[in-house]
Amino acid sequence: MGDFTMPSLGADMERGTLSEWLVAEGDEVRKGQIVAVIETDKSDVEVEVFESGVVAELLVAPGTEVEVGTPLARIGSPGASRAGNAEPPADEPSTAPEPARIATVSGGGRRGHATAILSPILRQLADTLRVDPDSIDGTGPGGRLTRADLEGAAATEPTHPPTSPTRLRSAGGGSSPYARRLAAELGVDVADVSGSGLGGAVRARDLPERASGDVGAESAQILRQRSEADAPDEVIGADGADEPAEPAEPAPPSAPKKDRSAAMRQAIARLMTTANREIPHYHVLSTLDVHDAVAWLDHHNASHPPAERILPAAVLLRATALAATQVPELNGWWEDDAFVPSPTVDLGVAVSLRGGGVVTPTIADAGSLTLVETMEALRGLVARARRGNLRSADLANASLTVTNLGEQGAEEVIGVIHPPQVAIVGFGRPVDRVVALDGMVAVRPTIRATVSGDHRATDGHAGSLLLAAIAKALDHPAVL
């Protein structure tokens, strides 16, 4: 029994917008079940509930922005309110503010009555299951579609039923994140666009001519997968003037989604301003010889299928996690003028997004993972970050962050510490360098590694120890 509250999804988060409920009042929920989607300045996040029970009441309607800690729903004891709540109330908060979107966009003719009211929750489910709500007979009160109707339809129709091609939702064939971002900037709903990509996927070139500017050169952006789907329908006329496509359809209750690109920049600016104002940074750098690690990886990867291959990034993360257990004074947080060590190594991993932007999800307890498990965790994080469906567990507070520029990056990166953490490790692109080896000149694959540390907590000695521990781990890749 208790409240499900707006979670803190990162140390810098103060407010969040409830974008979608994935459960309805009366639903039973299990601990760990994803019940809502929260929109932050940086990402859309699927959020789990931390207790089992029954959703007694949804307190906040989709589109509402609230402070961290605000109750979003009441969770009751299992079985407590189930009997009296067999049918959803007609005015449940999740359905009231949002009108019959799918019914209006599907272009008439068919059994529109069933979807006259389709809650965001069921709309989400229909998208997820790739079923067309208009092709299904509702069995709920007044012919309304129920969850069972959608799930039944999905089970009997393995393929997406034919839908009006110009209004096909993007959930299945998909529009590219880049195209969605462009669409958002142009004020175009990707659902209005005929995709030329595979399976009708909407590509950037399918969109109307851009107004001006080089979007690709813009600074950080972020996927807006879910928010586009909920954006009001708009098209830009030939003269560039905004012109509502369907004036009959009311706008959502909330204000239009703010430009997340700008919001994300502001969030990063706040965090980095705090970091630069409050943290006296020091920096140490080493050039690591990664010959042995590369040779071990090449050998491993040559004898494993792609699904079991390991990337250098996973090796660097594993080496860092191991090193952090040996230099615990860099693994934790600066709170109330004192260092608080973290009992586990929770590694923040900077993940760049296609089309621009960065998010920093967390690999929890990375210190206890094997190399193979680290690779699996990294795969999952990158995939979820790029699909735009990170989970709240992915955004747990990290105790140490790693930024890795990868094969295409620059040779060196000196990171800015994410407060309240006290260090950040940076890895540049692997480069073949001329080095002295056993009194001889040799060409070896190397990586420049840096540690930025918080002088309030440690000094350069700790940073040096961490780099030495990372170097040592990379020299013995087999024990990683």
Binding site: R203, R205, A302, P305, P306, R309, L311, G355, E407
Partner: protein, 81 residues
């Protein structure tokens, strides 16, 4: 496999990973990863998709480094039946 067919398989695999990349707009003679803005995780996913679709496992040692789209098409066409 004919080069055209190999190219189509690559296009389908890439649509799963980076749907905004249009192979027709890619210069086939320059390093593909930089041209299509793919990182090592994307390239690994591409190898996984191609393996799943054709049974051909293209590893790091099978292509020059870095490799171009034309080189990938030729390698896949040569090895896929």
């Amino acid at each position: 496999m004919q080069p055209d067919a190999a190219r189509q398989v690559i296009a389908a695999a890439l649509a799963e990973i980076a749907p905004e990349v249009d192979l027709d707009e890619i210069d086939g003679t320059v390093p593909f990863a930089a041209e299509a803005d793919l990182d090592s995780m994307d390239l690994l996913s591409l190898a996984e998709e191609l393996h799943a679709r054709t049974g051909v496992d293209i590893g790091d040692g099978d292509l020059p480094s870095p490799w171009s789209l034309d080189q990938l098409v030729a390698e896949l066409a040569r090895r896929a039946d």
